[in-house]
């Protein structure tokens, strides 16, 4: 063990370039609030969603039988729209934090990519919700 050069001490302190992504403390605070609020909403939505899935599987419902129940169901569409909104808010904010902490990506480009992801999640989610509401085209 005598004098062998290994890295280890002072670990965690690396002179990494830290470029702020340019968001203000105020915006960061609101993002934090939005993520907590959407998490609370998700806790409820995921529960309802899982119970629905288990119900459908336990009763051996076919795809057609499920669509029969979802088509024209405004309450179902409203619920899944809310669910999609909560996902589109929650997931990108969390992913943004991961990118900042694990990849060291702290540029403004991150914010644009995350905003794009949020829009995509929202659009594709709504499209799926609408498809089961409106039925086969």
């Amino acid at each position: 063990m005598e004098g062998g050069v290994v890295s280890g001490a002072g670990q965690g302190y690396a002179a990494r370039p830290v470029a702020a992504s340019g968001t203000s403390a105020k915006t960061e605070t609101w993002l934090w609030i939005a993520q907590r609020a959407s998490a609370a909403l998700l806790a409820l939505c995921v529960l309802v969603h899982l119970v629905t899935i288990i119900y459908a599987v336990r009763h051996g419902l076919s795809g057609a039988a499920i669509l029969e129940r979802t088509q024209g169901n405004a309450a179902g569409l409203a619920f899944y729209s809310l669910y999609v909104l909560a996902i589109a808010v929650h997931a990108p904010i969390g992913l943004r934090t991961l990118c900042q902490e694990w990849l060291g990506w702290r540029k403004a480009s991150l914010n644009w990519c995350i905003a794009l992801l949020a829009l995509a999640l929202f659009a594709f989610g709504l499209r799926a919700g609408w498809a089961v509401f409106a039925g086969p085209a």
Partner: protein, 237 residues
Amino acid sequence: MNMLQVSVWRGAASGGYRSYEVPRRESQSVLDVVTYIQRSIDPTLAYRFACRVGMCGACAMTVNGVARWTCRTHVAKVAKDNAIQIAPLANLPVVKDLVTDMREFFDKWARARGQFAPRSTRKDDFARVASGSPGRVAADAGIECIGCGVCYASCDVVSWNPDYLGPAALNRAWTLVNDVRDGARRERLAAVAGDAGCHACHTHLSCSEHCPKNITPTASIAGLKRAVALAAWKGEL
């Protein structure tokens, strides 16, 4: 004689562990071990201590991978197979051997607005703060911090985000947010908000787990999160 196998970090950011044999004694602290090496084996070993009794926090080091006060850590408590490994605190630049540069750590206290900003002058009467008042109780819970840096070295978020203010600075800010005599609440909440502040905390509780003073910086940071969110809600941020 029973000898303790001690592996000590030598060098700065790059360097290596060097092995020493130190006579095992009764009620021996890790600081005793480091002192023995420096005085009896290798006088070039650099380390830092002052009070030896857990009041100053200067002797904090990484012992077997965990940040601790070496003066208050018995060898018997941490030795495995009669061996211990001693390194400088993590998350801080190493000056030499076991000595870290604490400047960034304390600069962050200033950045978190850790300075008391009095609302009254010397001409005013003494402020009377009831010992059972909620603000006083919250401030008292965090006020005993002596700035040893153990929490900072134990924090994952500091290692991921070098800008993160860290548990000690945020804990200090929380004691002042609860101090009714202080007049800089708004500026302080703005200073601790955001990506480098309280919202970055993942509640891993490493700081609270390892604080030698049994302070819970995680609770202080959670308090700041609530206070900052409320301020944002009221448009005061």
